[in-house]
């Protein structure tokens, strides 16, 4: 258990006083001056390391201590090398220190010194020098050193490749190309001596070295690879492992070598000529007399090739052999896992080789195709098939291969059956992200199977939501926009269904133990099967949504508090925004009209998760405004449904946000200036609808269970009525009458439909101002129907709030004028319109 003791250790280390620290430094320095270093030294070094790493601020060690630690780097005791390297890495180097170790450039750098040099490298030159030194010691090493004195060479080179490939000189590169060929292709095929203890096997009868074996125990018939085993390993066999481990990175780094494209092409032509020539003069000198596998027999004599091309050829052979070896049944799980890893790596390397030199495609493809055939029916190899998919994507066209069965597997089967494999999910989505353009162009299965892909998101939303943010825009087309919108809204339901599906597979069929979840019973009930199957469908195109969606939502209502479902619901709003951002770029007006209808329809058909409905309504509201602003005539197109929505009084209470915005768009855009089809009859009809609702909600208490209608609903209704009236002046008296009644009612003090006094005052004030404005219809018409560029308010985003402010300003102007006029003519009662 992580105790307070551990935490206090760290605190102590962090808060050590300077004086105590200095004492500690000198004690440690003294310890290091002694020849032998025992437990006390080791413990003190560990403590120093903890002190240094416990704080973010970097310390400088006293020079004497620093010097001692530097000399420890070459201690024969590895633990001391490790500790001194770790400590020095946490401190600031003294200037000129870089020259102090590794001074003797002929000496071998151990791994931990190399790590220190790497961490302190400040320039390309530093890395170059390190690289050169390492490679030099590789060449002129003595054979007495154990393998582990050299084992870090390639990993360090790999690091330098990552950070600064330019640090490698041409010489280095050529040397490494040659050495890699030797290690990969020509390592010993006999077993090394027993392990690190050295010496021969005791009790071994013969001194004849045994041949290496395959993972299934049979004797190897070909060159050594990482999938070969022996009792012990020789040095070059170890280097074979290190070489293969960095091979892909090596090939990738020098893939696009800036060396003159023309020269390269000429070289390639020359090479392919010489290759085909040497194929017929097959020189078997490389092949020893023993059993030869397919690979070696068909290998071309590549001695004519320059080092880089030779390495490519050997890499190809190595990977082919690995793929063959993976067909064998390994005896241990760690080896089975390794085989899968090797398959992935081999296919990636082959892909790389083919990208560098397209003439390889014809030799490589049969091998990859055969591999696909072998693995496609085994889902445990799904992750291996992703690099195969990459290969097909890159080279399939060139090889004129039918890739359909591969893509069907990747998009139709994998997500459906492996949605809960986090590694597959990550890798498949990553594959899509990295190849998005290509996949969109050439793989129709991608978009066709979007319902399937969403299963990854529905299952483990937090882990993959970022991927979907990147991928979603590419999924939206004019053909699938509506179905996609429904799918996004149903993601929490999909999440619940996947949980039920998995649980259902684990539970026995007749689980009547009384713990039966209603949702599980529903899931297993044949009469509801079709509903769940729709959610679980793998392909789009069979319908936007289902008729009995309401039923499905009821059946799943108890799942609304399942953590997985809740997490999924939290991702929906942002995906909706992305959807809308994309859909306006691909949809025509007709489709956008249908999108509006879906929004209205679905606003009451959502899984009842707390906050989910509110959030979705908020998105809908914003997007409704946006769509109508973009295409105001949409309001006329969809006027029937919008009026139906606006006329349903319950919507005021259950969907106040959307309701407010529906009323807003009606008020703003139902006008002949936006669409000549807007008739007087339509305006009147709309007016009457809104008037009826406003009357209903302001003449009585809210229905039981519902709170008072939001003040914004009322003000938006009032504003809309005024706007409509300003376009059809016959309606003005009706508005005025209503508004004056409203004012009278509120004079009595409280009203049942508004429980906040200030809100009531604002509502009534608005009413009065609009009334006043409508007295001059001409003015009202311009104020309430400003040309589009004016409706983008300067000081408020919310047009509903901006309007009263505009009115207030106007009112004061008109009042000033009125009272001036009145004072000249009538000396009586104060105008009802003077401000309080």
């Amino acid at each position: 258990m992580y105790s307070h003791g551990s935490e206090s250790l760290i605190k102590q280390a962090r808060e050590i006083q300077e004086s105590e620290l200095q004492k500690f430094y000198s004690r440690l320095t003294k310890l290091l001056q002694v020849k032998d270093h025992g437990h006390e030294t080791v413990d003190s070094l560990e403590r120093l390391r903890l002190i240094l790493s416990a704080t973010k601020y970097t310390r400088t060690l006293p020079p004497e201590l620093q010097k001692r630690l530097l000399s420890l780097l070459s201690s024969p005791v590895e633990q001391l090398q490790v500790l001194s390297s770790a400590v020095l890495r946490e401190t600031l180097p003294h200037p000129g220190q870089a020259e102090n170790y590794g001074q003797d450039s002929n000496s071998q750098l151990n791994s931990h010194t190399a790590a220190l040099l790497l961490s302190q490298a400040a320039s390309r030159d530093d890395l170059s020098a390190l690289c050169t030194q390492l490679l030099r010691s590789l060449e002129c090493r003595s054979s007495e050193g154990s393998i582990h004195s050299l084992s870090h060479t390639l990993p360090v080179v790999n690091t330098i490749l990552t950070y600064s490939p330019e640090s490698l000189t041409e010489e280095n590169i050529t040397l490494l190309n040659k050495k890699l060929v030797d290690w990969l292709r020509y390592a010993s095929t006999t077993q090394g001596c027993g392990a690190s203890s050295g010496g021969f096997f005791t009790g071994s009868r013969s001194r004849q070295p045994l041949p290496i074996a395959e993972l299934d125990g049979t004797v190897s018939g070909d060159f050594f690879t990482v999938l070969c085993v022996g009792q012990g390993f020789t040095e070059d066999q170890w280097m074979n492992v290190y070489a293969f481990s960095m091979l892909r990175h090596w090939l990738l780094t020098f893939h696009s070598v800036s060396g003159g494209a023309i020269a390269d092409t000429a070289n390639r032509l020359q090479l392919s000529l010489s290759l085909s020539h040497s194929f017929s003069n097959d020189d078997r000198s490389e092949v020893d007399g023993s059993v030869v596998s397919m690979v070696s027999a068909t290998s071309t004599s590549s001695r004519l090739l320059p080092p880089k091309e030779r390495l490519r050829e050997k890499a190809f052979q190595y990977c082919q052999r690995l793929i063959e070896q993976c067909d064998r049944k390994a005896q241990r799980k760690i080896d089975t896992d390794l085989q899968k890893a090797c398959l992935v790596e081999a296919v990636c390397i082959l892909d790389c080789v083919c990208l560098e030199d397209a003439s390889f495609v014809y030799r490589v493809f049969p091998c990859i195709k055969a591999l696909f055939g072998r693995l496609s029916s085994d889902l445990s190899f799904a992750r291996v098939l992703l690099p195969v998919a990459q290969f097909y994507l890159n080279h399939g066209e060139m090889a004129a291969v039918d890739c359909d069965s591969l893509w069907n597997l990747v998009f139709a089967r994998f997500p459906a059956e492996l949605f809960n494999d986090p590694y597959l999910a990550h890798e498949l989505l990553r594959f899509l992200r990295l190849n998005l353009e290509n996949v969109q162009l050439r793989v129709p299965q991608y978009i066709r199977h979007f319902p399937n892909l969403f299963k990854f998101l529905a299952w483990e939303s937090p882990a993959v939501v970022d991927d979907f943010v990147d991928l979603l825009p590419s999924m939206v087309t004019s053909g699938n926009a509506l179905e996609l919108l429904h799918t996004l809204l149903d993601l929490p339901c999909l999440s619940a269904t996947l949980v039920l599906q998995l649980r259902s597979m684990c539970l026995p069929i007749s689980d009547s133990g009384g713990r039966g979840l209603p949702s599980m019973d529903a899931f297993r009930n044949p009469s509801f099967r079709a509903l769940f199957l729709f959610l679980l469908r793998s392909e789009a195109g069979s319908g936007d949504t289902i008729d009995r969606l309401g039923t499905l939502l009821d059946l799943l209502s108890e799942t609304a508090n399942w953590p997985r479902v809740v997490q999924c619901a939290q991702t929906v709003p942002i995906l909706l925004h992305i959807f809308f951002n994309t859909v306006i770029t691909v949809a025509d007006k007709t489709l956008l009209g249908q999108v509006i209808l879906v929004m209205l329809e679905r606003s009451s058909l959502l899984l009842n998760i707390p906050k989910y409905t509110t959030e979705v309504h908020r998105v809908f509201s914003r997007q409704l405004m946006r769509l109508c602003k973009l295409h105001p005539s949409l309001v006329i197109d969809q006027s029937h449904e919008l009026l139906e929505f606006a006329g349903a009084t319950p919507n005021v209470y259950s969907k106040q946000e959307i309701y407010t915005h529906v009323v807003l768009v009606l008020g703003n855009y139902l006008s002949v200036s936006y669409d000549s089809r807007c008739s007087v009859r339509l305006i009147t009809s709309c007016f009457e609808t809104l008037e009826a609702v406003l009357f209903e909600i302001t003449s009585s208490s809210p229905p039981p269970g519902a709170g008072c209608p939001a003040p914004r609903v009322i003000t938006s209704l009032i504003s809309a009525l005024a706007k409509l009236a300003s376009r059809s002046h016959d309606l003005i008296p009706r508005v005025s009458l209503f508004l004056s009644k409203l004012r009278n009612v509120s004079r009595g003090g409280s009203v049942p439909w508004c429980d906040d006094e200030e809100d009531l005052v604002s509502i009534v004030t608005l009413g009065e101002e609009l009334c006043a404005l409508l007295k001059t219809p001409g003015v009202a018409q311009s104020v309430l129907n400003p040309p589009p560029h004016v409706t983008a308010p300067q000081w408020h985003q919310d047009t509903n709030v901006a309007l009263p402010l505009q009115l207030r300003a106007l009112t004061r102007i008109t009042q000033a004028h009125t009272s001036h006029a009145k004072s000249q003519h009538t000396p009586t009662s104060p105008s009802p319109y003077t401000s309080k």
Partner: protein, 155 residues
């Protein structure tokens, strides 16, 4: 290559305040990223060695916190309550530990040992993940390396 190896807490710990994450061991492999990565070279070179180390430590801390929240979300979704392992049950907790991906690896911590014997982790890493290089090791190679680690750590 692997860029960093970090051991840190992943569940709410009594000794820590809520949401806090303690990094117990961290090892960044290779050269200083800030110095050698392309466009930002100009800007970063103005930071001195101490500042670069600070930057690296901050990044590790951020990553650790991200992993911690990913782990707790995952556990929440699968219905397992996040909580400390009672003493004595560490081995079991390690076996049941989930692996996962968030472009990082989840892990499980093993407390005091790590704080006071960081050199063991270093030696282990130097064999199994030398300078961040992932190795293709069959069981024989792996055994050989493990023996080597054991030999060097217990001196």
């Amino acid at each position: 290559m692997v860029l960093a190896f970090v051991i840190h807490t992943v569940c709410p710990i009594g000794a820590l305040s809520s949401g806090e994450c303690r990094v117990l061991y961290s090892r960044v492999f290779g050269a200083d990223e800030a110095l050698f990565r392309g466009e930002q070279q100009q800007q970063q070179q103005r930071l001195d060695a101490g500042e670069r180390r600070l930057l690296a430590a901050e990044k590790i801390a951020v990553v650790a916190r991200q992993v911690q929240s990913a782990v707790s979300l995952r556990r929440e979704a699968s219905g397992r309550p996040p909580g400390e392992t009672p003493p004595g049950e560490e081995a079991l907790a390690l076996q049941e530990a989930d692996g996962g991906v968030l472009r990082l690896r989840d892990g499980d911590p093993f407390w005091r040992e790590v704080l006071l014997k960081g050199s063991r982790v270093d030696v282990l890493l130097s064999r199994l993940l030398p300078h961040g290089q992932l190795l293709f090791l069959n069981h024989r190679f792996a055994q050989s390396l493990e023996k080597d680690v054991a030999a060097n750590v217990n001196k």
